[in-house]
Symmetry: C2
Subunit: 160 residues, 2 copies
């Protein structure tokens, strides 16, 4: 009988990987020119949403206490500010590389964590708060970010 903790970790990581893979497959079908389009009239452009997802994943590198962010300067343009607030975004090619780089780094770190590590606190919660709210662990971060990925994937598919 497999341990339930281990199953819970597998469940969360499987779902994360499935959403990353779905976005990768979509990106394989979209041209850089298509990424410059709005996903719906007056809504975010594909390039902004992809940069946003990559920046959120990049931020996970520090939230999960893995390593420094790859492009901390992208936080402002893809998370703090809305689309079209910046005169020129990084190129589609640069954002595609950013997306792949941070996901590869996350995957390498994920592979090194033990089941027990996943239930340890992330860096946005203090030790005092974590003692009272042990659900604020690393695994919960990945589960929440998976729902976030899924939401924007639902929008990005409209670029096809």
């Amino acid at each position: 009988m497999t341990n339930h903790d281990q199953l819970a970790v597998k469940m969360v990581l499987d779902l994360w990987n499935s959403r990353i893979k779905a976005i990768d497959e979509l990106l394989g079908k979209l041209t850089d020119e298509q990424l410059m389009h709005e996903v719906a009239p007056g809504r975010n452009r594909g390039i902004y949403l992809l940069g946003h997802l990559a920046a959120v994943n990049d931020h996970m590198l520090t939230i999960l206490d893995f390593e420094k962010q790859v492009h901390p300067e992208f936080h402002e343009i893809f998370i703090t500010k809305p689309d079209k607030a910046v005169a020129e975004l990084p190129s589609a090619s640069e954002i595609r590389t950013y997306w792949k780089t941070v996901n590869d780094k996350l995957a390498a770190h994920f592979a090194k964590l033990s089941v027990d590590d996943w239930f340890q606190k992330h860096t946005l919660v203090s030790a005092e708060d974590f003692a009272k709210e042990p659900h604020r662990n690393k695994l919960t971060i990945v589960a929440g970010r998976t729902a976030h990925l899924a939401g924007h994937l639902g929008q990005l598919i409209y670029l096809k």
Copy 2:
């Protein structure tokens, strides 16, 4: 120290509840007339997406071995068939009630499950397969359906 199994169940249910709540809040702001609009040009209408989510949740009542579906006849029009394949969908008011009814039923059943129950098999997997693949449990169904809800929520917000 809280048990990790228990934390995993809380994590999945918290995320499910947060997405249901977000959709409920959005529905509170949308008129029935707005629900009849396409979320983006040429895409699904809000009414279809809401019916689709409700029918998927309704199906969970049997997948999780809780009780019979409320509207099994909606499976065909909201899951098997795409939007606009049926001459007339049920009314927005009927679909709003359907959404609320199935979610209330799910919540009542969720509240009765023990942590251990969540790691038991769902009805779409055989006992033989479950012995080999114990991650195909009830909790995984809810986690997967949460990502599904999140994806369509990302589209429904374009109705605003």
